[in-house]
């Protein structure tokens, strides 16, 4: 006896699905830059497929966000605007997003791989029985029009192509920073569509009691970065001096984030962000493959490490084997002078 009649394994008629959707993540009116990065990349995919590019925003008071999405190339913006969505919670977001997906049947859904995106994506993909690929770093379309979602596997030595052939939508969370956002062209042609809000506060199963958002630095946009690793041994000061002198943002390897020395929003690598600065100075970073993977788009890489055998030296353009506590301030001094010769410090 077969259960096939009852349970069709979630396979759908893929012809019924079209359009490329991009989730526009906003908190308190501020859009995460990964959303605009995705919108740009998705425009390329939509053109290739002959599909419409649709931006989707969930939150409260989204008029400006919707307008900007049109200016940045969306053919349509779907908006679910209601106080129940602010601040973000997984259950109302997931349910609303899922209802929109089931009603409008997009072929591709791209979500930024932020904590928020990674949190609720499954609440859409599971009930929709969609294919969901995590932490994607490259997107393409194959000859049959299938989304090719590429993600690093085995710690980053291998790039795996994930396909979703018989289920829809083809969903993916994309690592922040891997694509570059273009400037809006100011042309806001397109339609803003108000979606029915299907969620009510009474149905919510979670409640945000406190929220403190402070460090919203976006390292993916930084032109210069000083990144610290386990080797700094909790002492951020020398690296910070160097960062100040170079006018650089501080970033970190996973090890330094796990130790609590640097905030997680500044993590570079497989489970963090991809950066592409003109200068990347790795301070006390050994050079694990998971980290390299997030920084190998940097133009010039400089390594400072006291271990001559650290793998980072093979992945750097310029390096020095030195004690960090001495080397960083010494370097900083050179650039303090060079950058602001006339300024009297202290």
């Amino acid at each position: 006896m077969s259960d096939d009649d009852e349970f069709e394994n979630g396979v759908v008629d893929v012809e019924e699905y079209d359009d490329v959707w991009v989730f526009v993540e906003e908190h308190d009116g501020e859009v995460m830059s990964v959303s605009w990065e995705l919108l740009d990349e998705a425009e390329r995919l939509a053109d290739e497929l002959g599909d419409d590019l649709v931006a989707l925003a969930i939150g409260e008071d989204l008029d400006d966000v919707a307008e900007e999405a049109l200016e940045r190339g969306a053919d349509r913006v779907l908006v679910a605007d209601d106080p129940v969505f602010e601040p973000y919670r997984a259950d109302p977001y997931g349910e609303q997003f899922r209802a929109m997906v089931e009603k409008r049947k997009p072929s591709i859904v791209l979500i930024g791989g932020t904590h928020t995106g990674r949190d609720f994506a499954g609440r859409v993909a599971v009930p929709a029985h969609a294919g969901l690929t995590a932490d994607v770093t490259e997107l393409g379309v194959d000859d049959d029009g299938l989304l090719e979602a590429r993600r690093p596997a085995f710690g980053g030595d291998v790039l795996a192509t994930i396909l979703c052939e018989e289920h829809r939508p083809q969903m993916a969370t994309i690592r922040p920073g891997v694509f570059e956002a273009a400037e809006p062209d100011g042309d806001a042609d397109g339609e803003i569509v108000e979606a029915d809000v299907v969620v009510e506060e009474d149905d919510a199963i979670s409640e945000v009691l406190e929220r403190e958002v402070g460090d919203t630095a976006d390292i993916t946009e930084a032109e210069r970065i000083v990144a610290v690793g386990h080797g700094i041994d909790g002492d951020l000061e020398p690296a910070r001096k160097l960062a100040d002198a170079l006018d650089a943002e501080i970033a970190a390897s996973r090890a330094a984030v796990d130790e609590g020395w640097v905030d997680g929003a500044r993590q570079v690598g497989q489970t963090g962000k991809t950066v592409r600065p003109e200068l990347y100075v790795a301070v006390g970073i050994s050079g694990a493959v998971q980290h390299l993977e997030g920084m190998n788009k940097s133009e010039t890489v400089v390594a400072i490490n006291n271990d001559p055998n650290a793998p980072i030296f093979e992945h750097a353009d310029h390096g020095i084997v030195a004690d960090l506590v001495d080397a960083c301030p010494e370097l900083a001094e050179r650039f303090d002078e060079a950058a602001e010769p006339q300024e009297v410090v202290q």
């Binding site: 979630g10 995460m32 973000y88 997984a90 259950d91 932020t114 904590h115 928020t116 990674r118 949190d119 609720f120 994506a121 499954g122 609440r123 993909a125 599971v126 009930p127 294919g131 969901l132 995590a134 932490d135 085995f154 710690g155 030595d157 291998v158 790039l159 795996a160 192509t161 994930i162 396909l163 199963i205 979670s206 409640e207 009691l209 403190e212 958002v213 460090d215 919203t216 170079l246 609590g260 905030d263 929003a265 489970t271 003109e278 200068l279 133009e299 010039t300 890489v301 400089v302 030296f313 093979e314 992945h315 750097a316 353009d317 310029h318 390096g319 020095i320 370097l331 050179r334 650039f335």
Partner: protein, 258 residues
């Protein structure tokens, strides 16, 4: 008041021991020893902290081949009260959709009030299974949880969550699925008597797909995603110059930032 806290643990290849296959030049995962996924140790610690607060039982569950029972014995040695191995050839080829379905059904069968998982596994690192479990059961979820606080009088669990650029405190109705943020829950030393019991005498209960009534809802057939191909990533070419003097290094940097 006592809660049933179920912890998902997974057996993975030891990332530190994965060698390079001399013939292919690729990572050889098959030869690496199998160990408990590191983040799951922290999930266990988070569970013990809730048990300290409200009382009850911590039960480890693992989906895997028969030899995955070693990580369950280890979980009991670390302080779990019981453990279940969910093992069936039918699970072969499962992506995160059927995997989270299987764990969701097991959590339901165990009458879990709280399910705790590590933030992600070191072998596939999708982080999709904890929200997947919550979604399959329609339960609340608290991912990237850096601290947990049981509120038994409200039938809720609160967690401090690491969100983009900050933190938030969220309370969720039971049953709830928690993903413990990596690096936040330092595992406590195992009491000696548990260690002896777990390693020597304890044997986990074993469930198969039939026991969970999901025989036709697991495996390759129901997995929406498939691997279309693998390519080795060519390393980015770097100059690899190492200098002795800070001034030489500064000169190189100057060329970039000038």
């Amino acid at each position: 008041m006592s809660w049933t806290i179920v912890v998902g643990v997974k057996q993975v290849p030891d990332a530190d021991e994965v060698g390079i296959d001399p013939d292919t030049g690729r990572l050889d995962r098959a030869s690496a020893p199998a160990v408990m996924n590191g983040p799951d140790r922290e999930a266990l610690e988070a569970a013990f902290r809730i048990r300290d607060q409200v009382g009850g039982e911590v039960i480890a569950m693992s989906m895997g081949p028969p030899n995955a029972k070693t990580v369950l014995k280890e979980a009991v040695a670390m302080g779990c009260d019981d453990a279940v191995l969910i093992s069936d050839r039918a699970f072969g080829g499962s992506d995160t959709w059927p995997t989270s379905l299987t764990l969701a059904r097991a959590a339901e069968a165990l009458e879990a009030d709280v399910v705790i998982c590590g933030e992600e596994t070191t072998d596939s690192s999708t982080g999709q299974v904890p929200p997947g479990i919550a979604a399959h059961n329609g339960w609340a979820q608290l991912t990237y949880a850096e601290a947990v606080d049981a509120r038994p009088e409200e039938d809720r669990l609160a967690a401090r969550r690491d969100v983009e650029g900050g933190h938030e405190l969220v309370a969720a109705d039971l049953p709830v699925v928690v993903a413990a943020a990596y690096g936040e829950f330092d595992p406590r030393p195992a009491p000696l008597h548990r260690k002896i019991y777990g390693e020597n005498d304890f044997e986990p209960t074993v469930w198969d797909a039939e026991d969970l009534e999901i025989k036709d809802e697991v495996g390759l057939e129901v997995s929406p995603t498939s691997v279309g191909g693998m390519e080795t990533v060519d390393p980015v070419e770097r100059k690899g110059e190492v200098v002795d003097e800070i001034d030489d290094l500064a000169d190189s940097i100057e060329e970039v930032v000038a």
